[in-house]
């Protein structure tokens, strides 16, 4: 009971060794809960010869049934009825189909200390009223994507005065309005309050390039920040060197590199990963990360590239204790970073099978989750 809350309410958000025991206990409880409440998960776990009592130390976490994001996209799995959930969130579905993940109230309650502790640690919390430009989706009752929720959530680290959005919901679809965001930034630069730009890195890049073309150069108020979430998505081909993005942000908006904050997370693993001042994603206590061999799925040591496997006992509405992403990456020991954090850090290299898959085999488009109209 409450093993999850004991983990999430722990004091130091990066003390992994100090929370190993709590993490393993909470994960065992989480798996036992899902095996009891979700028959589909129980079948998977039993088929993989897993039982929660096998989890004694962090080394045993490798045994937790690993569910690929691909599986969540093909099957909605829930361990409680809809009425008991706080919300249901979906992945962005860049490649066609999307995952549906339920969030229970206990999960929301556990997220609060996580977000506050990490927000405090990474200096995101500011009491000054702030203008927001969100280079992402304007929340709408028809939009259940995790990234929309995350970006909206990021606008509460400093009290919002107003928010301008790059993507507006009109007649059943989102329409982009980058020029509107540029105009908003020009207005906010004259306001006495700081501004925060929250958004996809690709949108920031396109926006800054657009402003450069228009000859716009602003100096946002001191204390202004750029908060980047959601990854590059379908714009991976344009992924630019981070240093180019930072120098353009400095040139166009007057925001220093130290005030550009990056986040990482996934709807199936909604843990608040923050980049350190050296732009590394150190693993916080709420998560453990394994890197798996691309051929055998066996765990790999530090420094070797493989599939990123994310573990957390956060969610009880959907079994997500061990999620196999389709990202490639590697882990390094925290000491190698030099920022002062000892927790290992994760580097994401990109998504597997990035090339647009095309098929003429009967039924394959559906299986690939691409859907297919005309």
């Amino acid at each position: 009971m409450f093993s999850r809350q004991r983990l999430f309410w722990s004091r130091d958000p990066y003390d992994l060794p100090g929370t190993d025991e709590k993490f393993v206990r909470a994960t065992a409880d989480n798996c036992a809960y899902h095996m009891e409440k979700c028959p589909q998960y129980r079948q998977l776990a039993e088929g993989l010869n897993f039982s929660p009592d096998q989890l004694k130390t962090v080394d045993d976490l490798v045994k937790v049934p690993m569910v690929p994001t691909l599986y969540y996209k093909r099957h909605a799995m829930f361990s409680m009825p809809r009425w008991r959930m706080a919300m249901k969130v979906t992945s962005s579905g860049t490649s066609g189909k999307f995952s549906q993940i339920g969030f229970d109230w206990g999960c929301v309650f556990a997220e609060v200390p996580m977000v506050l502790r990490l927000g405090w640690y990474h200096k995101l919390i500011d009491l000054r009223p702030t203008n927001y430009v969100v280079l992402g989706y304007k929340p709408n009752q028809n939009n259940h994507t995790g990234v929309t929720r995350t970006m909206f959530g990021l606008t509460f680290f400093a009290p919002p005065i107003r928010r301008s959005y790059a993507l507006h919901y009109q007649d059943g679809a989102y329409v982009p309005d980058l020029d509107g965001c540029v105009r908003a930034l020009e207005r906010y630069a004259k306001s006495p309050f700081p501004t925060r730009v929250v958004g996809f890195p690709s949108y920031l890049w396109f926006g800054l390039k657009r402003m450069e073309e228009l000859g716009v150069s602003l100096n946002l108020r001191p204390g202004s920040k750029i908060l980047l979430a959601g990854g590059w998505k379908q714009h991976y081909a344009q992924e630019v060197d981070k240093s180019r993005l930072y120098s353009l942000a400095k040139k166009i908006l007057g925001v220093e590199e130290e005030n550009i904050k990056e986040f990482f997370g996934a709807v199936e693993h909604p843990i608040f990963f923050n980049a350190c001042p050296r732009h590394h994603f150190h693993v916080p206590i709420y998560s453990r990360v394994l890197i798996r061999d691309v051929n055998t799925l066996e765990p790999l040591p530090y420094g070797q590239v493989g599939l990123v496997n994310l573990l957390s006992p956060l969610i009880k509405a959907t079994p997500t204790a061990s999620v196999m992403t389709d990202d490639l990456g590697y882990l390094e020991p925290g000491s190698k970073c030099g920022c002062g954090l000892d927790s290992p850090y994760l580097t994401i290299l990109g998504r597997v099978g990035l090339s647009d898959i095309k098929t003429c085999a009967a039924g394959a488009a559906d299986l690939l989750g691409k859907g297919e109209g005309l």
């Binding site: 589909q40 079948q43 998977l44 088929g47 993989l48 690993m66 569910v67 690929p68 691909l70 599986y71 093909r74 099957h75 691309v294 051929n295 055998t296 799925l297 590239v305 493989g306 599939l307 196999m324 389709d326 490639l328 990109g350 998504r351 597997v352 099978g353 990035l354 090339s355 647009d356 898959i357 095309k358 098929t359 003429c360 085999a361 009967a362 039924g363 394959a364 488009a365 559906d366 299986l367 690939l368 859907g371 297919e372 109209g373 005309l374």
Partner: protein, 423 residues
């Protein structure tokens, strides 16, 4: 964007282009029909530019990695000689001249206007379809797929730059599928609608085509390998493994299921144990990046998990290899594989072959046949009678052969009509 009159126009011109299109098409019809030689010579010249590397930059800009390799496969089909041979084969050597008939004579003419809808499954497909339309003298209206990042526009531009007279015969629109009004307007102008795609795309086009508009459907297909014996046929197994990994199960001609002419489940297990290392070797050779191997492993693992929860798959045996897998199932159905180097193995004694394949009639395409030489003729005939349209060596399932039919027929014949004229 819109491609019309040999130039690219912005979407804002769409209503103007659509307004003028009926008149322009009627004007063209009143003239002599397009001489296929014009298209052949432009394609031949374009092929020459391709060989000299003059189009490499264009391909690098618009086409995905591996496009050059794919182009090299179809390149021989673009020579003047092969294009003319194709016209002769499909339309008959005398299609250009009137043919005497007891009542007078008959002439072969283009259908008129073809509306091509290519659902984006193979790069360059819209252009390929338009070229078939040009070879048969038709005006071609293309609806480009969402995935087309400019390749079709660039190739059409290169083609009309090469032969400006072709410009009046080619229109392309990257109109989204949701713009039903524009698609309907284009379909209303067409004498024939050519659709390439899956069931959903074909169904949508059936709804779009007005009565009287001829529908030409190039739907998705399933292919398989049939092995009556494999001991000692190592080269065939290696070629099959290479094909499976190379195409990833994504093509109509990709092997989805390896059918074994065997009754005994133990024989199936023996085959899997023999074939798995061969498949692993092909995967190790073909996958050049960790991402490719990871994708294969993920799809294989996901399929394995699906098996754990699927009520009908309890008896499956999964042989997991390095970045590949074989799943031995008890049923005899031709179904889609888990893709990406993960393939299904099923026992299908040849006495059961025909009824099993008939359950997928209309979807059958290629069979890669592995058997002793003395059985080849009999098994080939059986497969053909079951409805298979291509029977090849295992390593050639996705190879292109000049002069081959397409899904059992010669497409160019469908894009022409015969006019009978009484004396």
């Amino acid at each position: 964007m819109i491609f019309a009159h040999g130039t690219l126009l912005p979407d804002s011109e769409l209503s103007e282009v659509l307004k003028n299109l009926p008149g322009e098409l009627d004007d063209l019809r009143q003239q002599e029909s397009l001489d296929p030689e014009l298209a052949i010579s432009a394609l031949d010249s374009l092929g020459g530019r391709l060989d000299r590397g003059e189009l490499d930059a264009l391909i690098a800009q618009f086409a995905p990695p591996g496009a050059l390799e794919a182009l090299a496969q179809v390149r021989p089909m673009l020579t003047q000689e092969n294009l003319e041979a194709r016209l002769d084969l499909e339309l008959g050597p005398d299609f250009r001249s009137p043919q005497p008939r007891p009542f007078g004579h008959s002439i072969s003419l283009p259908l008129g206007t073809l509306f091509h809808v290519a659902a984006g499954n193979v790069d360059g497909l819209p252009v390929f379809s338009a070229v078939e339309g040009l070879l048969t003298g038709n005006v071609n209206l293309l609806k480009l797929p969402r995935e087309d990042k400019g390749l079709s526009f660039a190739v059409l531009q290169a083609l009309t730059d090469q032969e400006p007279k072709l410009a009046s015969w080619l229109y392309a629109f990257d109109t989204p599928s949701s713009d039903h009004a524009t698609l309907k307007a284009l379909a209303d102008l067409a004498d024939g609608l050519v659709v390439w795609g899956g069931d959903e795309a074909v169904a949508a086009c059936r709804a779009l085509a007005p009565p009287g508009c001829k529908l030409m459907e190039w739907g998705h297909r399933l292919s398989f390998a049939y092995l009556s014996r494999w001991v000692g046929l190592d080269a065939d197994l290696a070629a099959l493994a290479d094909h499976i990994v190379e195409t990833g199960g994504l093509l109509c001609s990709s092997c989805q299921v390896i059918f074994l002419d065997a009754e005994d489940r133990a024989e199936g297990e023996n085959f899997c144990r023999t074939f798995l290392p061969v498949l692993e070797e092909a995967a190790a050779r073909r996958y050049r990046t960790p991402g490719q191997a990871a994708q294969a492993t993920l799809y294989g693992y996901e399929h394995y998990l699906e098996g754990l929860t699927h009520p009908d798959r309890g008896s499956d045996i999964v042989f997991r290899g390095r970045a590949c897998s074989l799943t031995l199932s008890n049923d005899q159905e031709l179904t889609l594989s888990p893709l990406h180097g993960n393939v299904l193995v099923k026992r299908l004694p040849h006495k059961d072959l025909l009824p099993a394949l008939r359950r997928q009639k209309g979807r059958l395409q290629t069979a890669g046949l592995v058997c002793p030489a003395e059985e080849r003729v009999e098994l080939t005939n059986l497969l053909a009678r079951a409805g298979v349209n291509r029977i090849t060596r295992p390593g050639h399932m996705s190879s292109t052969f000049p002069g081959e039919a397409h899904d059992g027929e010669y497409p160019l014949r469908r894009y022409r009509r015969t006019v009978d004229i009484e004396k």
